[in-house]
Symmetry: C2
């Protein structure tokens, strides 16, 4: 997807932002998750193992970048970002379970249930799920209860049956259903798009931007969310397992409909590019301040893992 | 435990309250969980199956009774009660999974993963978990963001690693650890006590009682929470499987330390009675208004399921 290309200065800003967010997210989780001096220790070790596992931190970067662009301080934004990442990480732990995708590797390391055991993995996921909402209602994130409640509402809706978990269910029955492009799009908007969109929206909520002021940011998030999933399908179909750090070609083995099976490799690439260009267009009102969000949109479709 | 006995009029009030809360909780879940017209249908069917499964509704009754005693309307209290019950039900679904307790029966019916499948059960639990926080930040529960945020904070803390999930982890390693009475007490305060205490506290939060005004209600909740677990251990050791609707004698089979193994049947019974008397004492400031809370405390140790 070289045609999209990164403006060099934006790309350099993105590289720096990715390095910094990875370090910062790990530091926040490290501080939030001290190992307790009792038999809960394996639970917290599993939470740390899963949460501090070298992810790309796309969602935290979206949230922190949006929030900083709108004038929010980095520390509260980072805490809210770790709430979103807690939800993302819990979903990865549960998705990897033997009864779900039965994955042994995640980011090149044993999955949580392989490293610990299944029961601990289920509980670590559940605990990270609760942690997200503990974080969002803590005074260190924001002292404004209106903002706390709005953050919780946004994240809970994006992660439950009307969001991520609902999309995951649609994905589970995908093997026995023959989804068309409209249905696959809806599935992915729930499964991946909802949490990515919530990341951007929560940045705006922290900045106390009212709902009507979030329209262009929501449109940006919706477009990159879909492009993100198309890129994932392309990665599964054409990517390199070593670079990706996980098993690929699973969609094909499972006979699943994806953007690639429905549109072909070239069609899917073109669609992802069109979506990214459209997403970048939505950032026009923010001018130079949106450099990292622009670069992040492009990174999403160019990444190899 | 006949010595505690129920004052007849309190007992009649409790019977009526238990019947009514069971009907009301089902009605709220029924309205909240319409089956969607897409492939998420099995997810919502599993959520309904687990949530509308004839539970005792002890937590909802604690919350609604406390809230009504303090002047809160029944409808908002019922919604908050369904948030707590969503957390309780998700924990039952996950606890029953093959990798956890591997239970086939729950309330006399197949457990969720037996009726559906494991993956759907994991997701239904996760979705009920998120639903709890969606409910608490919805305007129909309370329009006051301060109350919304406080409800979320209370429930998230009670359910995560410092509460229910943490206690569940301690319980999982109980077979290989030899806990003493202090450690078993701590385990149960987290595993069961935290959510029961949150139920009472959330009733007071809805009534906008400030933290310092909740001391006696918290003490009541702490005592009945511990008594509840002692009663559970007694039920496991001496109860009737048909009446209980689930497999019993599991603690003994697994060689686990419980209140009964540590204190003996008589010692455990005496301790439960003492705790209930102490709990009822904490309700003195509320006089006749606390009739149902008093009766509920006694019911907790006298129930057979």
């Amino acid at each position: 997807m070289g045609e999209i290309g990164l403006v060099d200065s934006d790309g350099a800003k993105l590289d720096a932002a990715l390095t910094r967010i990875a370090r910062d997210v790990d530091a926040v989780f490290d501080a939030m998750l001290p190992i307790p001096d009792d038999t809960r220790a394996p639970l917290v070790e599993a939470m740390r193992y899963a949460a501090m596992n070298g992810g790309k931190r796309v969602r935290p970067l979206l949230l922190v970048t949006t929030a900083e662009m709108l004038g929010v301080g980095r520390d509260p934004a980072l805490r809210a970002a770790c709430a979103v990442e807690s939800i993302h990480v819990y979903s990865l732990i549960h998705d990897d379970l033997p009864c779900m995708d039965d994955d042994d590797l995640r980011r090149g390391k044993p999955t949580t249930h392989r490293r610990f055991n299944e029961a601990t993995a289920v509980l670590a996921g559940d605990s990270l799920h609760a942690l997200a909402f503990e974080i969002l209602t803590a005074g260190e994130t924001t002292s404004d209860p209106f903002t706390q409640a709005e953050l919780v509402r946004c994240l809970a809706t994006a992660s439950g049956m009307s969001g991520m978990a609902g999309g995951q269910m649609m994905d589970m029955v995908a093997e026995s259903s023959s989804y068309d492009l409209r249905e696959i799009t809806r599935l992915q908007q729930l499964k991946t798009g909802a949490l990515l969109a919530a990341s951007v929206e929560m940045g705006a909520i922290l900045a106390r931007v009212p709902p009507e002021g979030r329209t262009s940011l929501r449109a940006y998030a919706r477009d990159i969310g879909l492009a993100f999933q198309i890129a994932d399908d392309l990665l599964d179909a054409t990517g390199d397992e070593v670079a990706a750090g996980k098993a690929l070609r699973k969609d094909d083995e499972q006979g699943k409909q994806t953007f690639v099976t429905l549109m072909g490799v070239e069609g899917a690439r073109n669609q992802a590019e069109a979506l990214i260009n459209q997403a970048v267009g939505h950032l026009a009102p923010f001018g130079q301040d949106a450099a990292v969000l622009r670069a992040l949109a492009r990174y999403i479709v160019e990444r190899d893992r």
